[in-house]
Each structure stands twice: as structure tokens, then as C-alpha cells.
Assembly symmetry: C2
Homo-oligomer: 270 residues x 2
Amino acid sequence: MTVLIDGVPGEQVSALDRGLAYGDGVYRTLELVAGRPRLWRWQWQRLADDCVRLCLPLPDECLVLAELEQAAAGLERAVAKIVLTRGAGRRGYAMPADAVPTRIVSANAWAGYPTELAEQGVTVRLCELRLGLQPRLAGIKHLNRLENVLARSEWSDPAIHEGLLLDSEGYLVEGTMSNLFQLRGGELVTPLLDRSGVAGALRAWVFDNAPALGLVVREARLTLDDLDSAEAVFLCNSLIGLWPVVRLDGRTWQIPEILRALAARLAVAS
Amino acid sequence: MTVLIDGVPGEQVSALDRGLAYGDGVYRTLELVAGRPRLWRWQWQRLADDCVRLCLPLPDECLVLAELEQAAAGLERAVAKIVLTRGAGRRGYAMPADAVPTRIVSANAWAGYPTELAEQGVTVRLCELRLGLQPRLAGIKHLNRLENVLARSEWSDPAIHEGLLLDSEGYLVEGTMSNLFQLRGGELVTPLLDRSGVAGALRAWVFDNAPALGLVVREARLTLDDLDSAEAVFLCNSLIGLWPVVRLDGRTWQIPEILRALAARLAVAS
């Protein structure tokens, strides 16, 4: 793995960084092909939105693109991560007026998920952990991810590919590492992320691209009962792509042609 | 500041540490006098409890004590911090079976708060941010502290010494960096921390020591209305000690003699 810390090759950050002390930062995980990030428009927009939400300065876009290319040098296909923190700080929660943000760009060779999962669908479970409601942090891909860590620790069976998360009121939010959509009557519906959850870049891509296939996309509060009567369910993130869900406890779903068409569109998206 | 990373002097940690990636760890902040931590029994118990909650291995107690002493060498009075993370990990939320935890022990010269604040009382404000409810993380002093960071960013007026936090249901929880008690009729009442908040070491000390002064201590759901009719209100943490609250918006409180007696007991506690 190649890591650049503020543009300089290295693998270490200050032990006083607020990213470590408080999770005071944001990140994105993305796919690079020949050093160029896929779905960059959506990734960058989400990163920019998240920085505004947390009052973090956004670095220069061209600088980040150059660092991604440098980190992935020699790799035809790579997984990259961008972490932006508020930087090293004195003790205390107050945001230092003179904070110098830390920018960590890393990449390593692609070690994605088996393509059968996207083709044949995945088996998911329902997590016991319920996501708390915090509108001030909802949607942000920030570095406070203990809920996800605890939820992912609930199972180790490799036949279970993802866990679905409900919020404390029982509404569906997402998978532990993915966003969720259901298909019903020509509509794609995905949970509102105004109170919990992470709004992924691929989720945003679906919003912008499903209409071209004749699908209407909207956000709503969804329940497990809604999934029961859905024609199809899928999960998405920038590394897994689209995963049709075929099994959740006693429930099963098919993979309709329109989902394969959306996946085909994603396969050639840049 | 002196920093020991896993016992070795240094100031940097891996950029891949899960403490940075996910806030996957816990910490304590404490006072050292001549290299020895004050209120250690309560600090260590809370650290041990938190490690159990997050399935983190607890380091050897004597090792940590020796590192605190080493970090504070030459300092008569110091502020120290212990951070324990799940260590560097591969991508993904799952806790790695082979994770080697990271232990960061640091200390610097005491730069505490003016003693007038403890003697004359503090002015506090009510934060707009409401804490989310997450029983799985409630009480733990973990590294996911964005709620505190956002709450503390609400004011910069140095005449405001702390901000009080309500949860999403409107119950009082704590200060942004302190625990809260109210005094009424010989009883100290502090918010239940079963759904949000951080259970500080000094809060635990109060539970164990107030009875010797004839005070009953208990946890309850508290509201702002409860504070209105309280005889006194105070905040506490291991660095500020006990801060009587004398002003919150239009409300004012006195500093009764029993609070000064509790502070006097704390001043000689070890």
C-alpha cells in the first residue's frame, strides 16, 4: 500500500491528530482504474458536502486527483481512500482556529469482491444493533464509525455478505457498508438519511442514472414490511457496485432485468 | 509533551490505525502528581469497563502506570492521556482477529483551569445540539466524539465555561466535557447514562465519596425543570475537579457548604 500524508510518502500521522482523538474528519473509499478514480464527480461532491457539514476545509481537487494517481502508480486497478481530518490539535473539543488539516491519500491493488455476488445476488442478515438518530451527523461519511464496527462484529459466517441496519425507531437505514434500494412498480426507493446512515457516492450515482432507464428514484422511510413486498432489493457502494439481495432470513427476491441493466450502465460509467 | 506509542517514545501512529479510521478505541484524561495518577482506582475501572464494552484487550495495569510515570518524568504536576485503539487494520469494519492494539500514553505540564472557577462557580449555556441515543455506546469514553466537537463549536465567548447537553428526547445528559450533578434535599442526582453520554472517572468518585458526607447519590432522568428547583448544580471531570454552576441563562444557583466540603475531600483524594 502506498500512503501519502499531505502529499508526502509516509505511513504515519501525529498521535495528536484530531482524526484519532475524536474521529474529527471525513473519508471516501473509491476505485481507481489506471490511476483515475471512477465516479469522481459523485465522490468529490459528497466529500465537499461532508466538509461543509463539519466545517472542514476542502483541499484543492486537482491536488487530490494528482495524489490519487501517485498513490496508485503502477496499479491497473486499485482501491483508494481519502481521509481528511481537522489536523493535530491541543487538548479539548473546541476546533482550533489555527488547525492545519491532515490529508491522507492511500491506494493498494484491487482486491474486490467476487463478481458472482453481483451476478447471483447476496445473502444478508438483520443486525441487532440499532442506529442512533443524530441529524447533525446523518449522511456524513465521518470517522465516527463505532456503530458500523459493532454491527459488523455480529457475524462471521462468510455465507452472510452484509448486515442490514434499522434505526432506533425500526426504520431501515442501510447495510453496514452499503446503501440500500428497493424496486417496486418502476420506482427505486431508498431510505431517507436525514437522521442516521452514510450517503454513499454510488447512491448519488443511482439517483442521477436510474431515470435514464425509466426508473423513478425517491427517498422515504422504509420498513422491513416494505421490503417484503418489494420486487427486488439491492445494496451498493463504490467497491461492491450493485449487489442484488436474494435472501434475508425467510425472505427471497429475484433479480429483475432492470437491475442488470442498471449494473451494466454502472460497469461503463466513469 | 512526551508521547509513548506502545511504550516507545515517538509522536506518530500508523495512518491505518483503526483509531483514526473508525474511532475504534477508548481513552482517559487524567491528572498526574509527581508521576502518579490521581483517582487511579476510578480511572482504571472505567477504562477496564470500556474495553470490555468494545471487546478491546486491556493492557497490563503496571505497564500503563510505568508509562504514565515515564511520560511525566520531571513534571511535578501533569495532564496525561491514555488512548487504546484496536490497532492497524485492513480495510473494512470487521474487527481483525489478529489485531495488535495500539497504546498511546502522553503527558505534558499541567495547564489546568483557573481555580476561581471551582471557588466562585461557572456560567454555562445550553447547547443546541441534542445527543443521539445509542445504548450500545452510552457511557463509554470512546473515540467517536464528533457530537462533543460540534457542541463545543457552538460558542467562543470565554465567559461561558461549559455547555450543557440534552438528548434527543430533551433529557439532560452532561456537559460537553463534564458530568452533571444536582443537589436537592440531601440528594445528589446525576443523569442516567444508559442511552448517551460519557461516564467520567470523577463521576464514579462522587458516587463512592458523597455518602461519607451524608449525601445520597442516585441516577435519574433529569430535565431543565428539575435544575430550576435544585439547590445547587455542579459539573465535574478529572481535570476541572468540581465546578459549581452559578448561572445558566436566567437561572442562578448558590454554592452550598456541602459542595465545598465535597471539593475539599476531592482535593486530598488520591
